[in-house]
Symmetry: C2
Subunit: 196 residues, 2 copies
Amino acid sequence: MNKGEQTKERIISEATALINQKGFHGMSMADLMSATGLEKGGLYRHFKTKEEIVCAAFAHYVSLVAERLREALEGIESPRERLAASIRSLSAIARDPVVKGGCMVMNLGIESDFTNSTLRDLTRDSIQQWASMIRRETVKAITCGEFDSKTDPESLATLIISSIEGAIMMSNVCGDPIHADRVMAHLEDHLAHLSP
Amino acid sequence: MNKGEQTKERIISEATALINQKGFHGMSMADLMSATGLEKGGLYRHFKTKEEIVCAAFAHYVSLVAERLREALEGIESPRERLAASIRSLSAIARDPVVKGGCMVMNLGIESDFTNSTLRDLTRDSIQQWASMIRRETVKAITCGEFDSKTDPESLATLIISSIEGAIMMSNVCGDPIHADRVMAHLEDHLAHLSP
């Protein structure tokens, strides 16, 4: 990586942490200049607009979560166990965030849903990818007899994503990660009840 | 109500809708001037700061939700039925928002959790009040034999709040209120399984 690429990576990394805590509107270019030690010209050499920065930051966040998830699922073959491990890994964001500030998918989704379709579509894609991973594992779990054939993959995806995201919000707002632990326990119990 | 009070109410009502869609940082005073038809001086006659406006808007939002909830619970005596009715009423925010923009408790909570303790505390209080309503009804449901005595009121409160808030977020980001319907169905089914 040359020096220019290193600087660009550093901007993305600092922007991800700032946006995840302060929001897209809440992060000023002055915040980013101060975090990176760069002048405004140095930032604009790598990114034309603030929106371009947030898109790069979001892609960075998603790659970090995907990496954590890959590690959590490594070597697990049972679809039910893969779902359980993904629930544990993603609920843990409340206690051990990938980037300080909670879950960027929800944070940016909430900030953009009524105001910025580019950013909203990024978060929508990421939710849809998460949902399709859950549906895929659920269908496999039905096929291999781990889950009852009446299990609805769509509903399970909604339940897992909604309750984990909501629990991360509750944990951060209330200052207590126990909310994520409780939701994780409920979801694990629910998976156990999906046996035929 | 005199003219000054009417103007103040109108500012609060417009600010609630703007903040719930654009966020506290995203709403500019120019937005509020344009929505109310008032000059900057007219706004500052009633509110000293933008933060004072958002506090009044949040209190207004909470009172509207409380009113909708009171109507939904009217005449229902069974604690389990009161919980079920509250779940239906609050999940319906995804399809029929109290104020356009989703749930202001989550929106403002997400925006303020790492940056503004005054606003975060307002949303925390409101989550805690909702949780204590759920715990109270759960304890009554155990006492009158509707729920098994092993039911944990704390966990049930976390599950209901997390999954409803998360489902409203998913519904708005994905542009499909079905996520709230699915979570509502799961929670109703879960309540049914809490019978002794």
